[in-house]
Amino acid sequence: MTALSVALLIPWVVGVALLVMDGRRRSIRWIAVGALGATLVALGAVAADVLRAGPIVVTTGNWPLGVGITLRADALGVTFALLSVAMLTAAVTHEAFDHIAEREFPGLVLLLAAGLIGTFLTGDIFNFYVFFELALAASYVLAIYGRTPRVLGAGLVFTAVNLLGTFVFLLSVASIYRVTGTLDMSRIADRMAVADPNAAILIAVGFFVAFSVKLGLFPFHFWLPTVYAAARPAVAAILSGSLANIGAYGLLRFGAGLLPRELELAGGALIVIGVASIVYGGVLAVSRRTGTEMLAYSAIGQVGYVLVAIGVGGPVAFAAAILYTVVNAANKTMLFLTTQQRGALVGGLFAVGALSIAGVPPAVGFIGKLEVFRAVMGQPALLLIVVLGSLLSFVYAFQIYQFEHWRPEPPTARSGEGWWRARIVPISLGGLILALGVWPEPLLALSAAAAGALTGVAR
């Protein structure tokens, strides 16, 4: 219970404090990294508690239960919080080893962490909106990190589109309050089961649009390639590895957790949109000639698998969706961090990431694909699409490998002690991807527990 409050307070307080200090100074960067590390430890303690003894519920401000805002940590929320903060820590550590160009970068990353943790560990949908906005506001400023004209143009698109997405979300929150008379997630789940189907479908569509914009699914993807390709490597890693998780979490929590009847009804439509994402992202990624653009379109394709799994439904498919989100976040964080580096070692890391995207053992992407296969086992057509998508990912990933890594290393690349410092984080992430691929049991158990928490709420 205290660990939950600590995990939320550390990044919040330290983030606000660091915003007024000059983040380019060496000491400030390492304070930020240390605070994120401490947050990870606290989240680990919460996760251990949750997995052992079930969900933790804290009502803020000592209000009686049912009146105050509740923080609620269950296996699903804790999994996503751990994943997002771990990827944030990796990205900010990488940037701290390199150099930090803007003074507010460390503070903003911490506030983003606070927003993400709050979003994943709340039991109240309006509180979800507030933390969602906190995370997004921090990311709007992070998106223009570097301040070149190209980044500014992309940042404007990112901010405008995501603001519209959050207002659509807010409209659905208002409707859900009108229909159920409560903002508490567990009571909404009970009362939506007997609500007017027409209203429920409208609400579900609103949530779906809001989270699809966040995730960059096919018809809502238009902002994504511009932003990911223009951003600096660390920021692209943060946006795709941490922030995009809100979309997957929202679809799982609001779809499978709060509106299971509507999710079942829309299952076919979700599968169609997911397949469209897989094919569209794959085909366009094949046509790209630079690493960042390939990764941006690949991100659109990869979330398609998550949506297909959610559309199929059931504990196995939800576990596959969660596992795939974890795998995809790790892949994208590592690959985006290495986009501007060259050399034999980085080439090897890129190959590991490419194998993971394509789903080839021993990388962890294989486990992700395997679980998606298990989820769609009954439908041969879907099975075919998933295989086709994997083939496309194999082609585009190794095409970029050929374009960018099969060429002589620039002569300046191998000088000085900066060489190791710029590569230590990607190397660790690559090691993690291989290690989880060889020994996936903890990850499988975690995603199964998270899916269990979800289907438990639904009933």
């Binding site: 309006f126 909106y129 507030v130 906005e133 997004l136 506001a137 709007y140 400023v141 223009i144 301040r147 004209p149 190209r150 500014l152 143009g153 940042g155 404007l156 901010t159 405008a160 603001l163 519209l164 207002f167 807010l170 409209l171 929150v173 208002a174 409707s175 309050y177 009108r178 008379g181 903002l183 000639r289 630079t290 374009f403 060429r407």
Partner: protein
């Protein structure tokens, strides 16, 4: 009353969407503001009961739902903060591109993209020659 609220919120959303689709960046910001007001109005309209202001001592009869008003207030504050952020961003873009017309911004961006593509193509020219 519900119908009035619904029509007003829908009209606001429509006006906002129309403004967002304009090429002028300041109108884009105004459109986002109007859409946020549509969401705030919907939050107010979602209140479960209507009546006097919910201030102690409570008056005779029903009071209006304080929760939806609290939500609307929160949404207004957040909306104001992100609008300020968006305005600053538009200012930055206008300064960087010497224009606040989306079309000119896009043209400048296309020129930048074409230049980087050219550099890239030159870098890969040897490989293309080898492949062709």
């Amino acid at each position: 009353m519900n119908l009035v609220f619904a029509l007003a919120a829908a009209a606001l959303f429509g006006v906002g969407a129309f403004l967002v689709l304009h090429r002028d960046l300041v109108r884009l910001v105004l459109g986002v503001v109007v859409i946020s007001q549509s969401a705030v109005l919907t939050l107010l309209a979602a209140s479960l009961e209507r009546g006097a202001a919910p201030i102690y001592p409570l008056p005779e009869g029903g009071v209006s739902d304080p929760l939806s008003q609290a939500m609307a207030l929160t949404a207004i504050v957040i909306g104001m903060a992100v609008t300020a952020l968006l305005l600053v961003l538009v200012l930055r873009v206008a300064v960087a591109f010497h224009s606040e017309e989306l079309e000119e911004v896009a043209e400048t961006e296309l020129a930048l993209d074409a230049r980087s593509e050219e550099v890239h193509a030159r870098a890969h020219a040897d490989e293309d020659a080898a492949a062709g």
